[in-house]
């Protein structure tokens, strides 16, 4: 009986959480019409998601491109196909690694911080204080974060892809001896608008997912410092899992 009760509680919690996240998403979309009424809050979040993530995103994107070129390049060279490195690096970065790795970085760096910040506000009665002042927490706290995620995530992804391509070029040209012009020509020939659109669409969806998950987890935090710690971990775990699940389905049905 105890096991049945636990299973029942698990599914109940799952449905309540999923329902709460969908409602938060709808509220955030509706609140977007007030986006220009609080430029300072929006700008703060845009800087946090965009500019402050740039150094980490640059490093990870650079090495992703370099590793991809190295891993595939050595094998291709053995087959005399090293000129195809640009094709492989380009396609894998634009369609898969650029959007997914960038989303992982932002969810882990910014999303976790959001969950911790909003969680601390929840347990210290700051959210209740906002409500008691007649201020809507979703408009004040969640919407600026949601907006910054859905706008900056695609931009960061494009930036990561470009840096990754350059990283791939470094290895291809200097280590594998592929002429730079050939590397970029092959890359250009293999990519089309559909690939770019797919990558950007993924980035947008991942931005929606991690921002809603992290804001919801933070806003519903209970039980003091322990609860904040649990919310932070949960927000990252759920965000990364959902990003991978969404990635599969987007690739499956749109790729």
């Amino acid at each position: 009986m105890k096991i049945l009760k636990r299973i029942q509680d698990f599914f109940l919690d799952l449905f309540v959480t999923a329902g709460g996240m969908v409602l938060l998403l709808i509220e955030c979309i509706l609140e977007l019409r007030y986006v220009f009424e609080s430029p300072r809050r929006i700008l703060t979040q845009l800087l946090e998601v965009g500019c402050n993530t740039l150094p980490l995103a640059s490093m990870i994107a650079l090495f992703t491109g370099m590793i991809t070129a190295l891993q595939t390049g050595v094998e291709l060279k053995n087959l005399g196909l090293q000129e195809q490195i640009g094709t492989i690096v380009g396609l894998s970065l634009v369609r898969e690694m650029g959007p997914v790795f960038t989303a992982f970085i932002v969810a882990a760096r910014v999303g976790a911080a959001w969950a911790a910040e909003l969680g601390t506000m929840s347990v210290s009665e700051e959210i209740d204080a906002l409500r008691s002042l007649g201020i809507r927490p979703v408009r004040f706290l969640a919407m600026p974060r949601f907006f910054s995620a859905i706008t900056m995530q695609p931009l960061l992804t494009v930036y990561s892809i470009v840096v990754g391509m350059w990283g791939g070029a470094l290895v291809s040209v200097n280590y594998l001896g592929v002429p730079q012009i050939i590397y970029y020509k092959k890359m250009y020939d293999s990519l089309d608008m559909h690939d770019l659109a797919l990558g950007l669409w993924k980035a947008f969806v991942f931005g929606v997912l991690f921002s809603i998950v992290c804001c919801y987890t933070g806003l519903t935090t209970k039980n003091g410092a322990e609860g904040v710690g649990r919310s932070t971990t949960r927000s990252v775990v759920v965000s990364l899992s959902l990003i991978l699940v969404a990635d599969y389905f987007i690739t499956r049905f749109m790729g």
Binding site: E117, S124, E125, D128, G134
Partner: protein, 241 residues
């Protein structure tokens, strides 16, 4: 602003916190709700501004049942009801001045150039001049509560709810807060509800005292009548006075 609470029930899990509260809060008076720790005083207070929804019962604010209103309809009402939280409820990422200006800015109640002046005026009302630039983390508990009161006053509330306003404060600071509550109730003629278990505050502030015990109001009368009460639970509570 008048409040009438009827047959209010609230349960958290298996724990029935409020079990049929009936309470009347008259306009312009100071109503004090007392009771031991964990008796549900703060939960009751949060029901009065719709921060918590009851399982059953009514909370009539000027005759309108706010327990049935959607959250969106509560936001305009909350601009008329100020709540002072036990912790102060100040936003830690904002300075004192920004905290006090928050309601004015968000509800566009004053032109931006007038806001610093209003902030200074409200801080002066709570005897906190020249503290606009301080961060909440650098203030004492008593100062944080006074900033919270200043922030509430910017919306010109008709009702102020205080949740344990003197908890954790040293006696002189507790007296300062009590004096401030009396001053505001008298000068601004706002309806006031104070939740506390501080006996000195109770008898200094109250026009009416309501004793909360095991989820019910077991006594509601003037301070003088409370002192003469024959109820053993009330006597047990006030005998430490």
């Amino acid at each position: 602003m008048e409040i009438e609470v009827r047959n209010l029930h609230k349960r958290f899990g298996r724990n029935g916190v409020l079990r049929g509260i009936d309470l009347s809060i008259p306009a312009g008076k100071i109503t004090v709700i007392v009771g031991g720790s964990g008796s549900g005083k703060s939960v009751l207070l949060k029901h009065l501004t719709g921060l918590i929804r009851p399982d059953r019962g009514e909370v009539l604010v000027d005759g309108r049942d706010i327990a049935r209103l959607p959250e969106s309809a509560l936001f305009p009402l909350r601009q008329r009801i100020a709540m002072i939280f036990q912790s102060g409820g100040l936003l830690g990422s904002m300075s004192v001045g920004e905290n006090v200006a928050l309601g004015l800015l968000e509800h566009k109640l004053a032109p931006p150039e007038k806001i610093p002046e209003i902030v200074r005026e409200k801080l002066a009302l709570v005897h906190l001049e020249r503290k606009e630039k301080e961060m909440p983390a650098n203030l004492s508990g008593g100062m944080r509560k006074r900033v919270s009161i200043a922030r509430a006053l910017t919306l010109n509330p008709e009702l102020i709810l205080y949740d344990e306003p003197t908890a954790g404060l040293d006696p002189p600071m507790a007296e300062t807060i009590d004096d401030l509550i009396l001053e505001l109730a008298r000068d601004l003629k706002v309806t006031t509800v104070v939740v506390t278990h501080d006996l000195i505050s109770i008898f200094k502030l109250a026009d009416t005292i309501n004793m909360l015990h095991q989820g019910r109001i077991i006594e509601s009368s003037s301070p003088e009548a409370i002192l003469r009460s024959s109820n053993p639970i009330v006597q047990e509570f006030i005998k430490r006075r």
